[in-house]
Structures are given as C-alpha cells and as structure tokens.
Symmetry: C2
Subunit: 179 residues, 2 copies
DNA sequence: TAAACGCGGAGTCATATAGTCTGCGTTACC
DNA sequence: GGTAACGCAGACTATATGACTCCGCGTTTA
C-alpha cells in the first residue's frame, strides 16, 4: 500500500460498472473504451482482481468479467490490496541498531520489539486501512446512482449492446474507410 | 504524502536526538555519523525541516540545528508534511468525465463535487493524518527513554563531546594512517 | 586564515509506474 | 470448421521519483 496508483482508480470504476451490470459479463476492452482509458493497461489490471477472487473471467467470444460475489461483500480495501500488493506505507530501515556507540554489536534492548517511530506509522497505516475497509462497492454504487439520472443508465446499456452488436457488420480496427 | 520515504525515518530519529540534547545545537554531519547514515543525504533533509519551522540552524564552526519549539509541540504529522510535501495519497485522474457516452461535453451532474471513490480515499488519508497528528516528539522521546538504560545517554554524550573535541588535533577525513 | 558549519544546485543510479505490443489458448457464432 | 472476440501471459519502453553524491559558496569561530 505504498501509494494508491491510477490502477486503483481504474479498477474501482470498472467494478462499479460490473456491479451495475446485473451479472452479465463485460469485456475489459469495452470497459476501457467506455471510460476512455487504455485497453492494454486495463487488461493488466483485471488478472490481479481475478487472482484476488474479486472477479471471475469467462473466456471466449462473448466472455468478459463479472463480480465474484455481491457488491456489499467487496470492500475498497480488498480492491486496493489486490492491486497494490502488500507494500507497506512505511518501510523501516532499522537504523536504530546502526548507532555508532554500539559498534558492531547492538544490544538487545535497542533492537527488541518495534521501533516507536515505526509503531506510529503502523498505527497510521492501520487507521487508513480501517477506513478503506469500512466502504464497500455497494456503498459506492448507491452514491453513484444518486447522482446519475436514470436515463444515463439506459444510455450506457444502449452503448454496450450497440457495441456488442456492431461486431458483426464492419467495425474492425479501422472504423470506416471514408467513401 | 504519497509514500513515507526513508527521509522521514532519518528526520524523526534525528529530531529525537535533538529533543534529548537540551537546546545544544547538533551538526547534521555528527547526527549522520552517529546513526550510520549518509551525511550528504541528511544535509538535504534538514533544510526542509528548517523551512517548515521545526528546527532552526546556526551557521559557523560550532553551529548546527536545534528544535524550534518544545517537543510536545511538534507532531509527527508536521514532520511528515515538512519532508514529503503535500503530495496526496491518491491523485484522482477524473476519469469519470471521460465516459464515452458523454461525447466531448460531460454533463454537470457527472463532474459536480468529488467523485465518490475519491471521497473514500480522502477520508482514508485523513484518518491516517489524524493518527500521525496524535503523536508528538515528546511522546516518542518518552518511549525511547523507557527502553534505553541511563548509561546509554551518557555514552552518546561522551561520543558527541569526544567528536567535537577531536576536531582540533588530527581527525580529518582519514581517521589514522596506520603506523 | 583555515576548518567546521549551513545552504543550494547539478548530477547519478536504481526502481517503479504507466503504458505498449506482441503471441497463445479458448469459445461462440455463422 | 474457420474466424473473430475474448482472456491470459510475457517482453518491452519511457518517464518519474527516490536515494544518494559532488561541488562550491557564505558564515562563523578558534
Ligand atoms: S529504526 Fe526504523 S523507524 Fe526507528
Ligand atoms: S474519477 Fe477519479 S476516483 Fe472517480
């Protein structure tokens, strides 16, 4: 949990779409284009969420990702941990036992337990984690639903189905060779 | 406050020495050697603490740094802010208004206020900052004094005075040309 | 006057982030 | 049964930042 990167922002926004998708799998490429972010990069994020057991992927042409459990059972902390790994907020270098008066053999009282400074940092990190654990995807979904007008949901659904249906006619890489 | 770097660890450990020094200025080079860390690097840290008003520096041959106020008036948060600057834990890229269904003109309801995800991160950061603000240098000094035996304090004082006195005779860069 | 200080800027080296570009195996649909 | 849409994995690049180092200047004290 060193620094919350953009991957976390991408991941949570995507998971909110999945939460609103009612179990229907959404492809990572569609999610990327819908939100105007990089397809390649988002494709590197979802495997992390899958390994953490937050989403399940289905292969094949109509595949994609869906939530592995109810949104109320997915906390923000779980998502952050899945993306960032277990990097601590503060990594102590144990400089306390490098004191010059110790010479080469620091006494036991100097190295016993955690350094008091380190302990403060651990408490701060824990406070942050507690706050992240207190919010779930369901909470966020409610807030989002309160802001967006109902017509917006329909527009997005239209966009998704149109995009899914558009794969049959033309619509490969190049959108339209003009005239 | 992106990621708590080693500079923070160095800074707080040094400030604890200053807190125990009873107003006598200590040079950054002595503090570095006492703790077995880089002199050059520590010399880049102290100006930040000085600009933040945590410590005051005195120039000249017997100069050094001392605390600008009582240890009980210096919180860990102030030190961290002095070192790390105001980098946020999470920097929102505002991807919410890049949604494809908006086209080029995102509606006002989409961009009003803070994103719900961002809000959670801000609360988490605030929880961390509150925890850091709840601890002062004085608290840490008490914990340290409780661990170290009284003789250790004297040993360090001896080390400091010996080091200050040793500048007159030999003792330049090379410690001793052997025999 | 020289050595011990603080102060500031430039430069180095390693790592991490953000992002790209392949290719491979699977699956649905015509 | 072929093709295109999927997930999945790995190699690759570029930029930023962290952790230093080096050098030189102004000040002060012995
Ligand atoms: S030794 Fe790492 S914080 Fe004290
Ligand atoms: S737009 Fe940045 S967190 Fe939602």
């Amino acid at each position: 949990m060193a620094h919350l990167t953009v991957s976390v922002e991408y991941a949570i926004h995507c998971l909110l779409w999945l939460a609103g998708s009612a179990g229907a799998p959404l492809s990572s490429r569609d999610l990327a284009e819908l939100q105007g972010i990089s397809q390649s990069f988002l494709a590197k994020i979802f495997p992390k969420l899958e390994k953490a057991g937050i989403v399940v992927g289905s292969e094949g042409v109509r595949g994609g990702y869906r939530l592995a459990r109810a949104p109320a059972e997915i906390s923000v902390l779980q998502i952050v941990d899945a993306i960032e790994g277990d990097k601590p907020l503060f990594d102590c270098q144990e400089i306390r036992d490098r004191c010059a008066v110790f010479g080469d053999a620091p006494p036991v009282w100097a190295t016993a337990g955690v350094c008091a400074i380190h302990a403060v940092m651990l408490k701060a990190e824990q406070a942050m984690r507690d706050e992240l654990a207190a919010h779930t995807l369901a909470d966020l979904a409610v807030t989002f639903a309160g802001k967006a007008p109902p017509e917006f949901i329909l527009q997005v659904q239209d966009w998704m189905t149109e995009r899914a249906g558009a794969r049959k006619p033309g619509r490969q890489s190049k959108p339209e060779p003009p005239s």
